[in-house]
Amino acid sequence: MTAATIIITVLGVTASLALYRVIFGPTSWDRLIAVNLISSKVIMIMVAAAVFFERRIYLDVALVYAIIGFVSIIAISKFLEGEGTGKK
């Protein structure tokens, strides 16, 4: 059991536990919160893999994933704000 195994296993297990809220969430905002949490955990897994396996390209992938996740969260929450009311 090295440190890389422990970190990546714990993060992966908790990310798949948060998937419960994505599937059974009562409202759309619950699903949005859980997706935000999972994307944050995936960024952590990418950075840990980049450090422990000496792959520098994973850090750029993690940065781009963080930017796209942030923009999508903002866009979906602005969409849910006016959904069904006819306003923009």
Binding site: V10, T14, D30, S40, M44, V47, A50, L63, A66, I74
Partner: protein, 88 residues
């Protein structure tokens, strides 16, 4: 990071889930990334991890606030503990 997922699964309301998710993102991500930076030492590798860390610190509260604002505008009421009927 584990307790953030536990709060996501167990808590009864959007706003409480949002609070645990935000704490998990901020504190857990900062701890893991600072630990990896210290392990790596001073080079361009840890500089990129610092960039990801600053980006996460800037964007996570913004995403959390956007989700809470859209839920509040659509009229989601905060969860209130039910009163004990027999005691009154």
């Amino acid at each position: 990071m584990f307790f953030g997922t536990l709060g996501i699964i167990r808590f009864p309301d959007i706003y409480t889930r949002l609070q645990t998710s935000s704490k998990c993102d901020a504190a857990g991500a900062v701890a893991i990334l600072v630990g990896l930076m210290v392990r790596e030492g001073l080079n361009s590798f840890s500089l990129r991890i610092l960039i990801i860390l600053i980006f996460l610190l800037l964007t996570n509260p913004v995403a959390t606030h956007a989700i809470a604002r859209s839920a509040a505008i659509r009229g989601i009421k905060p969860w209130i503990k039910k009163k004990n009927v027999k005691g009154e």
